[in-house]
Symmetry: C2
Subunit: 440 residues, 2 copies
Amino acid sequence: MEAYMSSIGSKLQMLYTSDHASVVSMNLFVALLCACIVIGHLLEETRWMNESITALIIGVGTGIVILLISGGKSSRLLVFSEDLFFIYLLPPIIFNAGFQVKKKQFFRNFMTIMLFGAVGTLICCAIISIGAMQIFEKMDIGPLDIGDYLAIGAIFAATDSVCTLQVLSQDDTPLLYSLVFGEGVVNDATSVVLFNAIQSFDLTNINAVIAWEFVRNFLYLFLTSTMLGVLTGLVSAYIIKKLYFGRHSTDREVALMILMAYLSYMLAELFYLSGILTVFFCGIVMSHYTWHNVTESSRVTTKHAFATLSFVAEIFIFLYVGMDALDIEKWRFVSDSPGTSVAVSSILLCLVMVGRAAFVFPLSFVSNLSKKSPNEKIGFRQQFIIWWAGLMRGAVSMALAYNKFTSAGHTNLRANAIMITSTITVVLFSTVVSGFLSCE
Amino acid sequence: MEAYMSSIGSKLQMLYTSDHASVVSMNLFVALLCACIVIGHLLEETRWMNESITALIIGVGTGIVILLISGGKSSRLLVFSEDLFFIYLLPPIIFNAGFQVKKKQFFRNFMTIMLFGAVGTLICCAIISIGAMQIFEKMDIGPLDIGDYLAIGAIFAATDSVCTLQVLSQDDTPLLYSLVFGEGVVNDATSVVLFNAIQSFDLTNINAVIAWEFVRNFLYLFLTSTMLGVLTGLVSAYIIKKLYFGRHSTDREVALMILMAYLSYMLAELFYLSGILTVFFCGIVMSHYTWHNVTESSRVTTKHAFATLSFVAEIFIFLYVGMDALDIEKWRFVSDSPGTSVAVSSILLCLVMVGRAAFVFPLSFVSNLSKKSPNEKIGFRQQFIIWWAGLMRGAVSMALAYNKFTSAGHTNLRANAIMITSTITVVLFSTVVSGFLSCE
């Protein structure tokens, strides 16, 4: 009978202790998030730091502490998971960006944004892929096939809209903000088409038919994703206007707006569209229509609740990336030949800079040709800022690199390990340097 | 080379299609949540339905549809997970309850609440355990040991604070609301002590020393949990007051409040305390101190954001329970002998009613003895409502039953399957019947 007793006891106890290790990690993680907000706020006065860089540094610091405590075994509290990133953290950030974006500025520069996001990304991806293929084949970093090189191009062509939001201010530089952020959003649609193209087309003999197919696919994806976002936004406005007429309930209105926004993202993922594009346009429509149908307190609540969600998700990502940067498993391969790793990282950084320069300046020139007023033209200083602000690589690049070069966060191939550590180096370097420069 | 291409293509494609089945489920789930809010709002005019019952019914309906589509194989979109429930859904509900509770009413009835929550739960648990042991041993339902019977007592003694919030109105019946809800919160601490006691004490020979140990444990747990909640609340108030002096930022304030509240719950879980008690008192302190240190827009945002979170979590739970109710695996065992299952469910329902009556009426009498003014006494009609409102069994009972009688949501023992289906029956029956009666 005592055995029975202890059996039920331990079973019920389990409910409260189930995965006690994960409870410890969550505590530490939430406490670190609080610390990032408080410290980031305190350092804000010095004007050369923001929450993102604070989170990145705190993340790296925590990684070192965990590494020391665990005796060099592990540096991370949570394994980097693309699902967590793409399903929970990214949607609120992009939705909030759409919700708070200055719509007039955005639509005025629509063609330039499309040019940068679609054509520019393709140019950048091609240059990075070809450059990496030429250079890495002469270096001793292990076997990489053509697929890997194309993936490297796609990974490093992905401008990180999250980082961009942090360095450019919508109020101070509305034109630059809308251009660079818009590019980042359209970029995502391009990547989806690019991946599908790599999979389904025979890229060895490209001709006009395939190129046309490619353009058609892109237009289809862009239009359907946008339409889905606009439609969901309009449906939410209609529901709230029709149903809640005269009987407004703030909780229900806010809940419906959040759920519908999230639904738009998930629907896009369901139909293999670009969730980022969809939720971005859903945010624009919601702020333009739905927001004006709700009560005053719903308006205040949604405005700040969405901003808060996005703020926490951003800090979460940077903390996560910082903590994951020290993951010992990958660095072990690299420690045999530190020179190679530094060389690979530098080459990739250079390729990113060259690839970006190769489309920002020519495409700005093309865009300027169509503008009549000199105010609307993109000056050389602004072109330089666009080039530089889009250099940042962030969590999106990390997620893509993990997906391509590891299986469930682990790898045993030297070449793959070097690619992961190089991605981490590029991400940390570009974020911290750009972040510092931007606050000057 | 083509093989390489398709390899990278499919790998990158995976990023967008990873677990496409789970994307489908999430879409359906979010869409159903929206439907529940809209339909619940429409039916509210008829005054005999609310969102919870709507969610429960829609959940069961969806379960039937999925069952038919899958050809009788499965009825659920997601496997019932205690972690999801205890780590993500319960904290916002209890925190919001603390945040919006009428503090004056709550603290005036503090002793009565403690009496009901601590002594009452013990009485109820004992009666249900003994009753089940006496009756079920004579029935043919398979082998159940003493540990199982004690677990049945603990499972069915757990008043569901979530359901209670739905049937009693804080504005119309403040005394009853604070009594029944407070009981539900204290209840949780009692359960933790009860489980620990079963595990660590030799219950076969209870004497004064062990009883004293038990009381001491309860007091320790109650006091430390409360202190932790109060402390976290005060720290949040201090941080926001000190740091943000003159430089208020709504996003940071709201983010800090949410994160600190969640941290209090996770810290309590970390130290094996009662997270529900902690987060409840954290909510009380935050609404009393922190809330007055923030900007006006933070006040509006937190008030409605917390209510919305809690609202969505409640609907989520009911939808989930409704969908899980039809899980075919358990009903298959029961279908051989439907009579037994109905009998077991009815017996359990009767035991719950008897067990609750056995402490509500005597303890109300004891509580009335200490009150001088007739206004403060609990009248018979009110005692009856307390008895009846606390009869509801909800997601807490389901979570406990799944934890005890299944492993990872599956069971192959007939007795265990019958216990699960009986719990589901009791939960559905008590929620729907009480819900209907309350709206009359």
